[in-house]
Symmetry: C2
């Protein structure tokens, strides 16, 4: 069911290719991929769109979130991590697959409307999330959370649930299922290695929380004699195809270990700052060591936005502030982290994350005439994306060449209906907290 | 020329009154002021608006910016303060009153479209800014920058220019002119005291940069033996009606001095972080000492956004991160800083900054059905404003009861025309940099 080819004529293309070229060019999309990026694309058999007033920007990759938590935004603000988790766990125990799906639809809608086309998720009842992704046309990399059987509220053994989830969704065009150990504080050696085995057998990614707080690191070291990354290496867990979220409290040797094992990291600055975890992820060092570092919003319970535009801005501010160096994480690197580096984390740098011939056509049409992109000069466009562009400028968003947002409206879902279901879920869930 | 009274029926009103009540209520606006906030407002002679799907939120006060710099966004990113200023000064020397006006129109439009109704500005050619404010219907507190005559590129003596500017615009309903010493690095004792005399004679505010960088503090101490606030106190400058921007590098005694002299502070976290000034403004301490602390975006050259929504989010994140305390600057305080505390800074707490009977009707209608305000529960609305709401949710904005934005469009100006003039200004100005 190939859709009509489309030629976007004379757009300002933020390619994110190897040379990071920003060029006035035509872009032709066919069978879900870019087939021409350059001067005068052939228009045979194609719908032609005058794109002079738009930038074409690769779809953002949100490298760490819990999208179904949308109805919980504002539920647990301004509390320390203990108080925060207490409220969230009270709600967690009440959640159903139906309200997870309702929440995921709202969260996926919010992401698509801000130019995010791919995201890496960690939660339970992920079938609900998968249906939301499938319905709205996003690209979901969905990790079923696993933890030790005696600690979970899931029905059945978490590892078995993860395996079954992966088998149910493997082969889906938009949903890439995976397994997601929650963290060293709730996963023993068997759980970690069980997750790894599932990933190897099913050729999936592994996603997990790592070294987010001092306390997590301290308690694990007290228990095992090793800080989390070194312990995970010792038990034989670490390896390629893994994405660790946070990676805040790490010593040099831990960073080198992750680099040697080809583990990627999802940096989540807003969440870390809002939860006052104290540390700052050593992004510069990680990048220098060759680690792929993407950007994640984490959930709306701890951010409280799902906008990668805000996340780029904040990531840049935090690293410059922390290092007393304005040149750290310049705008181009921030955009890299939100696009091509995110794709690299997901093992998909060959077909996602940039506007290049042969790649999947996941991209946004961004209004160059929006106030937050003034002046719309080619030399400034990357800066505007990283530091100032508002979500409203993202006029249309495409995944695999198909529109999922057009003129600020969802194409494959009705926002009033999604909203009303998510508000109903919120009504029920907020009642669960003291 | 009184406009028709309007009744907004059944809105979710974020009053920002003394009890910080969030209530479902009717709001009646008449002769530019709120005349009823509560149950069932009388609708005689009034246009009645069904406001059930909206929050009514006080207009934001941007307590420090250089609005006319809009065409310079992205011109000097990721450079240290020296390199940043070098580029900006190269442009400054080329600016004309006409391009300042073109830039100010774009910047004021961007602010109105994100719910900011009042702002405190520091620049030269402020007549251009004043005309932009007057044209678009914002409320501008406009400071003419003064510095020592031998250091300025202004024609004529800066103090005389400031005095003449104040006299030209005094009595204007929307423009409140004032005098703005640039900072201790370019103002000697005579300039500071001359500015104070102008302010006293003309009953205006004084706005200035203070203790933004370590270097500024260090060099002033080397020169005078005193750190800037203590030196300003010693020369007899400090007093009420003054707003100091930044206030980053300050010891306890300096904070106490500002508090004793009733000086307000405009906190500009994004700009400080992006320029890597290293320090963090001691917001908690300042507030504990009784200083009115507002929020400022600074200019788009160093932020690069003019959105007070982003600024609240970032202010909260930075203080929580810095103090390792999630409870510092909770959502309510962030919203206070962006509204009623800003009004207090401007000496206008009695008639701006909240939705209360008798106050000027400066407010926004915020869409409760926007994805970034989900769930739209009264208990979460303050959190959403501080941490997640996107500019797009600000459907309509009113100043003195008159619409200045309606359905995301400027009412009193044409964005395509404003944009085209500002882009032309950018074309000329960007040519000035090496």
């Amino acid at each position: 069911m190939a859709s009509t080819p489309t030629v976007f004529r004379d757009a300002l293309v933020v390619t994110q290719d190897a040379e990071r070229r920003v060029v006035r060019a035509d872009v032709r999309v066919e069978n879900g991929r870019f087939v021409h990026v350059g001067e005068r694309a052939p228009s045979e058999g194609a719908e032609v769109v005058d794109a002079r007033t738009f930038a074409i920007v690769p779809g953002f990759v949100n490298a760490h979130t819990h999208v179904a938590m949308a109805p919980l935004r504002g539920l647990a603000d301004d509390r320390d991590l203990g108080g925060f988790l207490e409220r969230l766990f009270a709600v967690d125990a009440k959640r159903t697959e139906a309200d997870v799906e309702a929440g995921a639809l709202a969260g996926v809608a919010e992401m698509l409307l801000s130019g995010t086309t791919s995201f890496l998720d960690l939660y339970y009842f992920e079938d609900g999330v998968a249906r939301a992704v499938d319905a709205l046309g996003a690209r979901g990399f969905l990790g079923w959370a696993v933890l030790d059987p005696e600690l979970t509220t899931q029905k059945g053994a978490p590892l078995d649930n993860a395996k079954a989830f992966i088998q149910r969704w493997s082969g889906n065009a938009r949903v890439q299922p995976l397994v997601a150990p929650q963290g060293v504080y709730v996963c023993n050696e068997a759980t970690w290695l069980g997750a790894k085995a599932i990933a190897e057998t099913n050729h999936t990614l592994v996603h997990y929380h790592l070294s987010e707080t001092r306390r997590e690191v301290h308690e694990h070291e007290k228990k095992t004699g090793l800080r989390p990354p070194l312990w995970l290496d010792k038990i034989g867990f670490l390896g390629p195809g893994q994405v660790a979220a946070h990676g805040v409290w790490m010593m040099r040797r831990e960073i080198e270990t992750l680099a040697r094992r080809s583990v990627g990291v999802a940096h989540c600055p807003s969440s870390n700052m809002k939860l006052a975890t104290g540390g700052v992820a050593p992004v510069r060092e990680m990048r220098e060591c060759g680690i792929a570092v993407g950007l994640g919003t984490d959930s709306v319970a701890s951010n409280n936005s799902l906008s990668m535009l805000r996340e780029m801005h904040i990531a840049g501010l935090l690293q410059k502030h922390q290092t007393w160096d304005t040149s750290v994480l310049p705008a181009q690197v921030l955009l890299d982290m939100a696009t091509i580096e995110g794709a690299r984390l997901l093992g998909r740098a060959a077909d996602l994350g940039s506007v290049e011939v042969g790649k999947r056509a996941d991209f946004s049409l961004v209004r160059l005439d929006h106030p937050t992109l003034l002046p719309a000069r080619p030399a400034a466009i990357v800066s505007h994306l990283a530091y100032s562009a508002s979500e409203e400028a993202f006029d249309s968003v495409f995944v695999a060449g198909e529109p999922v947002v057009r003129g600020r409206e969802l194409v494959r879902g009705s926002w009033p209906e999604i909203r009303s279901a998510a508000e109903a879920a919120a009504d029920a869930l907020w009642r669960a907290v003291p």
